[in-house]
Symmetry: none
Subunit: 254 residues, 2 copies
């Protein structure tokens, strides 16, 4: 995570009340590859055992390196771009972005040699207007208009997640077949011939006028399954087993 | 939020341990316009005062309407598409999506007349392999590879947030099954039971030690096929036909 981490925005929590929320924020920052946490006026002082208890494993290093400041001005002194997270209308003439655009702007900022920070307010009341006024841009997380009060650590989670999506180079999708050899057309065609012969034998594909459409529908199901070579062997084994009388012992009554 | 809500995926928490986490999940569902919560085997039973305490305001209605089930099969009976949230590699041949694509797929499912659900496992261990095997698709939230253990409510938050982002601008999604009725879980489970009984009868699922993995692999093939209700009927008809002696006339020589 070295690079993602080094480039990531600083997370600043102003007036955080509960140590549990600070710890949960640190934990989710670690989940999503952020590491720099700053606190302004934490209500219960610092260090805070409740925060340490919530921040498991790698997040303990984030708690250990957390910096504490008296004011938002001090906490953002070395920062070149500040986003203030708030759901409330502030009647300020300031650009407003959503998390995805915020992550993009943070990346642009570090690419340009700067340092970005995202500022979150207290659990109870969010950011003070004075603190919002120190930010370049307002960050708003799209919410149900009837209930915009997001938990503090979850707000951090959403932002950190958008950062991870952007910074992690997530365009590399995992293959859904886990490296298994995909079925070749010839494997599939062998399966079709096998199954259709058995279905003809038991007169399932009946009446003849409907046979072509029935066969197409059945083949299409297999196509959609994106079968591996091994899947085809398994299916053919099932067909063979289902169409013979078992030999090892007497079949159960039905 | 009426429309967004009505269309949103069902959230299913299997084996949730802490009422606080259930309550936090309900709260963030309400933040992001989801409302249907189902529980499977909640450790501390239901109702749970700790869950109620965490779920403030509008989320209280979600807690009140939460449904509780004995098994994942029962909880997904009326569902047409299930995503299993897991960070661990399952070595199952199943499609893997990230939250954004998951939200898009949920929207497509409801547009096609179906019902989507997202299944989350316990705080301690995540989902059981058997529960994962009941899902069509794996949902993976991109994480720091050094720390993939996301808090339960935060996993729900990420998914619900992606739903909100998408559903806020939901217009016309493309139906993937051309208007056919997607199979419900109960249809699929009926197929599984039917096929597995027949395969047991002919001793295909042998030796017993390998049976669970064989069953999972076979189920996964069907999941990948994204079956319609009619497909399930066709397959069950094929199984029935293949396992009986034809009556109309003598079978052909082979």
């Amino acid at each position: 995570m070295g690079e993602v981490d080094r480039l990531g925005p600083v997370i600043i929590l102003a007036d955080a009340q509960m140590g549990e929320n600070i710890g949960a924020a640190a934990r989710v920052m670690h989940n999503f590859g952020l590491s720099r946490l700053r606190l302004v006026r934490p209500r219960d002082g610092w260090p805070n055992p409740a925060a340490e208890a919530m921040a498991t494993r790698g997040a303990a290093a984030i708690i250990e390196n957390t910096q504490v400041f008296e004011t938002v001005e001090q906490a953002t002194a070395d920062v070149t771009r500040v986003f203030a997270a708030t759901a409330r209308e502030r009647y300020m003439q300031k650009a407003v972005v959503e998390p995805e655009a915020c992550a993009r702007a943070c990346a642009e900022e570090v690419t340009a040699g700067g340092l970005a920070a995202i500022l979150f307010g207290s659990e109870r009341a969010g950011l003070e207007n004075d603190d919002v006024s120190l930010a370049d841009t307002i960050l708003t997380i799209p919410c149900n208009p009837e209930f915009t009060s997001l938990n503090l650590a979850q707000s951090v989670a959403i932002l950190a997640y958008e950062w991870m999506k952007l910074a992690g180079g997530l365009s590399v999708a995992r293959p859904s077949l886990m490296g298994a050899r995909p079925a070749r057309r010839e494997d599939l065609f062998g399966l079709f011939a096998h199954l259709e012969a058995e279905l003809d034998r038991v007169e399932f594909l009946y009446p003849p006028a409907k046979r072509p459409a029935m066969v197409r529908n059945i083949r299409n199901m297999w196509h959609r399954a994106n079968l591996t070579y091994q899947d085809v062997q398994t299916i053919r084994g099932m067909i063979t087993a289902l169409t013979r009388t078992p030999k090892r012992r007497k079949p159960r009554d039905e």
